[in-house]
Every structure is written in structure tokens, then in C-alpha cells.
């Protein structure tokens, strides 16, 4: 089924069509489950003026943080930023626009973007700076604010395995924002550790159906650990 084979030959091809000032939605939480090679390709391309939607912005020399030195990111929508000196400098200098969004609202905004839901109500953020300029409404005696969905020109996603049709399986907590990001891109690009043939993944165990995936590439990953915490094996 040639029409459903999503595999592309290179990272260059994977990110073809990404242009200055586009919006990119990225999966990952901290440095866990981030599409590290797709981010590196954006750095290589030198695309500028990007709006990036991601829970975090990486660290100085890994993840989305590597797009900062050349000022490739104009605006970031995230729930938690920090662990990143250049980010701090640009934010304080007003060179980088930051839209802080509660983590659950961010996940739901991505899901809604992919699901044809332009807006929803949530109690999260009511009465806080997040609510500024947003509609407030009472349901069943409780106050909520209206949040609008997010879509991206591109979504960049890291999965564990995929079949050629783009059916995805994630591994452990590297799943995080990736499934929602995958639904919310006009062009959804996925990099994985292993590509298998259709039929090798059990239909009941697929986390993201291939319908959401436009391009697929197999990469090798550093998978850097942000907070290495271990116990001694005799504990």
C-alpha cells in the first residue's frame, strides 16, 4: 500500500516545508520523549521566527534549547520553563515571548486542536493570571474559564515503534504529550527507534493510529537524562 507508507528517507525530507514564522507543536516532557533529531534538523535548517508549543523548552545544549542561540524561536507556549540560562536571558531581555499555560490545559488544548473542538471550559486557572482576557462562566455552581485549542503547521513527535503506515507505540513515560501533539499538526512528523512492517503491532495496542501521521523516520537517540536519581541496589 504505497499510499500509506509514511517512511521518508532523510531528516531533511522529514522537515521539508517548514518555513519561517510557522507554529510547531512538539511532544516530550523535560528531555523525556522529545523528538531530538527533528529538533536538530530545525536547527540545521536555520528556520526562524517559530512559535513553539511544548511543555518545556529543553536545556541549554539539548532539546528545544538548541534553537535559542540563533534566535530561531520567537514565542514559546509552555507550562514550565527554566533549567536554561539562554532562555532566561532572552525572556528577561524581552527577546523571547513566553505564554505560560497550565500543563493540563496545554495537553487538552493540543487534543482539542486535533479533535475539532475549538474551545472548552476548565476550572484550571480560574481567578489566576491565566484567566486574564478569557471568558468566565459558571456551571453547576462552580466557575470555569474558556480555553481555545491549539493547532500547529507542524507537529514533531517521538515514538518508540511504528509500522510503515504510521501506527505508533510509545514507551513508558516517554509517551507524555506526544500522542496529542501527533493529532494537532497540519503536517505531523514522527521519529522512532524502530520501524516494523504493518501487522507487527497489535491493533488493540496502538497508541496513535497512522491517520494522524504524515511522515515517519527511524533515528538514533541520545535520550539524555535530566535528573539522574538512583538508589543503591541493596536498598
Amino acid at each position: 500500500m504505497a499510499g500509506f507508507d509514511k517512511v521518508v528517507a532523510s531528516y531533511e525530507e522529514a522537515m521539508a516545508g517548514l518555513e519561517d514564522n510557522m507554529t510547531v507543536i512538539a511532544g516530550g516532557f523535560g528531555l523525556c520523549g522529545i523528538p531530538e533529531n527533528l529538533i536538530a534538523e530545525i536547527k540545521r535548517k536555520g528556520t526562524k521566527g517559530l512559535t513553539v508549543v511544548s511543555n518545556n523548552c529543553g536545556v541549554d545544549d539539548f532539546g528545544l534549547g538548541i534553537l535559542l542561540p540563533e534566535r530561531q524561536i520567537k514565542k514559546i507556549v509552555a507550562s514550565y520553563v527554566g533549567e536554561n540560562a539562554e532562555f532566561e536571558r532572552q525572556m528577561m531581555a524581552g527577546e523571547l515571548e513566553v505564554e505560560l499555560t497550565p500543563q493540563g490545559t496545554l495537553a487538552e488544548k493540543m487534543r482539542a486542536g486535533g479533535a475539532g473542538i475549538p474551545a472548552f471550559f476548565t476550572a484550571t486557572g480560574y481567578g489566576t493570571p491565566v484567566a486574564e482576557g478569557k471568558e468566565e462562566r459558571e456551571f453547576d455552581g462552580r466557575m470555569y474559564i474558556m480555553e481555545e485549542s491549539i493547532k500547529g503547521d507542524f507537529a514533531i513527535v517521538k515514538a518508540w515503534k511504528a509500522d510503515r503506515y504510521g501506527n505508533l507505540v510509545f514507551r513508558k513515560t516517554a509517551r507524555n504529550f506526544n500522542p496529542m501533539a501527533a493529532t494537532a499538526g497540519k503536517v505531523t512528523v514522527v521519529e522512532v527507534e524502530e520501524i516494523v512492517e504493518p501487522g507487527e503491532l497489535c491493533p488493540d495496542e496502538i497508541h496513535t493510529p497512522g491517520i494522524y501521521v504524515d511522515r515517519l523516520i527511524q533515528g538514533s537517540f541520545e535520550k539524555r537524562i535530566e535528573q539522574r536519581t538512583v538508589r543503591s541496589s541493596d536498598q
Partner: protein, 218 residues
């Protein structure tokens, strides 16, 4: 004497019930997991998508794909489940987590909480804190009763940007266990050896003090 961090965690742990699903914030709340009463089991929810968080991994178990909400490497207990961020926050925002324990900079008599931002200082973001306080019915805030300079953190009205409005009912400080209702703080328990007067002095918001204020027991 003021409670130690461990004692705060121990007192919070007394509020646990067998079968509770619990979300513990970073810092003192994390310590609560060490004091689950004997014969009782709770399951820890980590908002990055893990229900049934276990201890830190051994060197052999270390796995970059297995972290908690504080980005620390962790393990999963037997019977754990893993899911995406939307599902994780559906759980939190839908009120399915039985108890949430988190820290704060300030709380006030109306149950408002400020915990994520100090204007003028670096802003790191609210992460999942706004979702946690808005979604849970049962929240315990842990913090020191006052700042190092002696400024009360239990206020008539929060001065910092809010994390949530009207959502806090219980606060456990190093000095006291306090309930918030009807626009007032209510003193439930005091730390062993801490006088009611000391608590009153360090509580800026209106505090209702019953005739008898029991000491916490551990």
C-alpha cells in the same frame, strides 16, 4: 518546637487512607511517601503520565524513558499504568485523585493559593500546579508558617499571583494544622511544644482558635 520537614510529612501521612490515589508535589510533599502507615497502601500519581510510581531505580534499572513529574528517574510498582498527558490531567482535573499534597508561598482565608510566581524574579511557570489545585477536592498545602523574616504566609489575602482561587481547605505548616472555611482559618492542631500564642502571632489572616487545641501526635 517547629516541625521538621520529615515531621510535616509524617503528619500529612496520617491523613492517608488505604486505597488512596495520591499526587505529591516536589519538596516536602514527596517525603510523605516515606511515612505511609503500616498495613496501608497508597498509589502515587505522577502527572507526566504514571499511576503507581515506585522508588528510584538502581543503576541497572535506570531508564531515560521512565521519569516522574520532577524529571527524576523512577520506577513503576507492580500494577502501575502509564498514559499520555491528556489522560493524566483528565484524571487530575476530573477529581479522580483522592489526595493532593503540594507546597505554596502563601494561602489566604478564602482558600486562595499562590505558589508559582514571584513577580520580578524569574518566572518558571506553573507546570501542573494550577490543574492540581483546581481539580482536587482534597488538598493539603504544606509550607512553613512564616518566612525566615517572620512574615506570615497565612494571609487575609494572597499578595502574589494566584495558582488557584478558593480551592484550599487544609494547610499543614511547621507550627500548626489549619482548616480554611467560611473565610477564616481554623486552628485544628499545634506542633508539639508550640503555643497557641506563637501561632496566633504568625498568622496574619483571621484565625479561629477553639478552647482546646490538641498537640499533634506522631
Amino acid at each position: 518546637m517547629a516541625l521538621s520537614r520529615e515531621q510535616i510529612a509524617m503528619r500529612v501521612a496520617q491523613e492517608l487512607q488505604d486505597g488512596y490515589y495520591v499526587n505529591l508535589g516536589i519538596g516536602i510533599p514527596t517525603l510523605v511517601a516515606n511515612y505511609v502507615p503500616e498495613g496501608m497502601e497508597v498509589m502515587l500519581q505522577s502527572e507526566n503520565g504514571l499511576l503507581g510510581m515506585g522508588q528510584f531505580p538502581t543503576e541497572d534499572e535506570l531508564d531515560a524513558d521512565m521519569i516522574n513529574a520532577g524529571k527524576q528517574t523512577v520506577t513503576a510498582i507492580t500494577g502501575a499504568s502509564i498514559f499520555d498527558s491528556a489522560e493524566s490531567f483528565a484524571m487530575i482535573r476530573g477529581g479522580h485523585v483522592d489526595l493532593t499534597v503540594l507546597g505554596a508561598f502563601e494561602v489566604d482565608v478564602n482558600g486562595n493559593i499562590a505558589s508559582y510566581m514571584i513577580p520580578g524574579k524569574l518566572i518558571k511557570g506553573m507546570g501542573g500546579a494550577m490543574d492540581l489545585v483546581a481539580g482536587a477536592d482534597n488538598i493539603i498545602v504544606t509550607m512553613t508558617h512564616a518566612s525566615k523574616h517572620g512574615d506570615s504566609k497565612l494571609l487575609p489575602a494572597c499578595t502574589l499571583p494566584l495558582t488557584g482561587k478558593g480551592c484550599i481547605k487544609k494547610v499543614l505548616t511547621d507550627l500548626a494544622f489549619i482548616e480554611i472555611k467560611e473565610g477564616k482559618f481554623h486552628l485544628l492542631e499545634r506542633a508539639p511544644g508550640v503555643s497557641v500564642e506563637e501561632i496566633v502571632k504568625l498568622t496574619a489572616g483571621e484565625l479561629v482558635v477553639p478552647e482546646n487545641v490538641p498537640e499533634m501526635s506522631f
